[in-house]
Symmetry: C2
Subunit: 230 residues, 2 copies
DNA sequence: TGAATAGTGTCTCTCAGACAATATAAC
DNA sequence: GTTATATTGTCTGAGAGACACTATTCA
């Protein structure tokens, strides 16, 4: 750390994933300003120099602000990766720190400033692109990395419960795995597997129909993992 | 992506890991300029505005330049994460993109400009810190994240071969796993496991003593993974 | 009444861990 | 010869995948 620091514009973009109608969806916003007017992108903001009375905003705060200000949604985020290729922004050099958010069904988004529309876009089980090819900047690649990250994290973490409301059934949980992995799972095996993994889900004294309801347990990692195969 | 872009200084720091004397080591350099003169850090540079005749350097190029210019070493890098907390640099706000490099034993490093010394530091099997507590900036945390990342990637990728020269024995490979995971492995089980994972290692028509020599295969992912346990 | 969902049970195969055994090179 | 390393083999138990079966709720 020395030499001659060039100063760069730092953007923060968010891949927000949810499960609606038993299918994986990603949050997109439509730009109403240049560059790329009218095109769809991930919600993002520039890192603010002043924020809450302090110098410079934290990266995670910026990511949550992007979600809130562009789409009116609130969710926790975690870092995905940083994208700094030349030419990814036509104006000048912009490095973008991407975040990923896993949300339960939050309802429809509300377009914020500089955004003409906002929507949940289904992520289709297509080869390579998953139907995410039309985005501006390099947001196709970022969105793809986000989906892959989510698929992998379902294997070895308890992340799946973050797509669900407080109380859920094992069937609900199975549908999250099926939506994110885009494949069917044998429910008998899934029941056995999920119930024997201690700390993953905790039964409560309530049922929906004849289905037992559960809440998320305190575990964050799954040992052994639930393999998605291949 | 809109609003008011504040401009930040972007640093790139590298966690370089190797296995020497059957133990995991990390590359450190000693600063000869302010701030933190005399303290040890990860090698890093600021992203250059002009590089190879073009505007702005690529992030991975900057990471490899950090290794080369500060320690005289050449290795491939991959991204680890981005660190942007307020107060991580005493001068002003600096966001750092951290990279990780996995290298075979490259010999001793050569201190470059603004560096008074460079060394391979053993990563000890201590609780929490692994003996990496004395670094400047937030480089303790970055180094720790790098070691954990390496431990995890050995499970499900063929990364371990990147710590070895072209040709190696299964015993050599086992020592890499033992050094990075800091635990002993049963060699009988390890032999069986590694040989039945197709694409991981390929035998060549040569031996060292009575040990069969291998080269890395074309696989990058391991299915099923080699679990480190816990 | 029938279909979808919730949940249990069973069988087989693979694989991981523990550990024994053997063979050969190096000292 | 002795020791360390390389390599194969054997046994056991846990867990995954395939699939059958039952019970109950809802349309």
């Amino acid at each position: 750390m020395s030499d001659y620091p060039g100063l760069v514009a730092l953007a923060v973009d968010v891949v927000t994933l949810t499960v609606r109608d038993d299918k994986l969806h990603i949050l997109l916003v439509q730009r109403s300003i240049d560059p790329f007017v009218g095109q769809w992108t991930l919600p993002g903001v520039f890192l603010a120099k002043k924020w809450m009375g302090k110098e410079w905003e934290e990266l995670t705060d910026a990511a949550e602000r992007a979600l809130e200000s562009k789409a009116g949604l609130v969710a926790h985020v975690e870092q995905l990766g940083t994208y700094g290729s030349r030419g990814r922004d036509p104006r000048n050099h912009v490095v973008s720190v991407a975040y990923i958010a896993f949300a339960p069904d939050l309802g429809d988004p509300t377009p914020g400033p500089h955004v003409s529309d906002a929507k949940w876009e289904p992520v289709a089980a297509l080869e390579g692109g998953w139907g995410l090819e039309g985005l501006a900047f390099d947001h196709n690649a970022i969105a793809l990395d986000g989906v892959i990250r989510a698929q992998n994290k379902l294997e070895y973490t308890t992340l799946a419960t973050r797509f669900l409301p407080e109380e859920f059934t094992i069937g609900d949980l199975q549908k999250v795995y099926e939506a994110v992995w885009m494949r069917e799972i044998d429910s008998g095996n899934f029941y056995r597997k999920v119930k024997q993994t201690k700390g993953f889900i905790v039964p409560i004294n309530e049922r929906r129909g004849r289905a037992q309801l559960y809440v998320a347990g305190e575990a964050t990692m799954l040992y052994p993992p639930i393999r998605k195969g291949d």
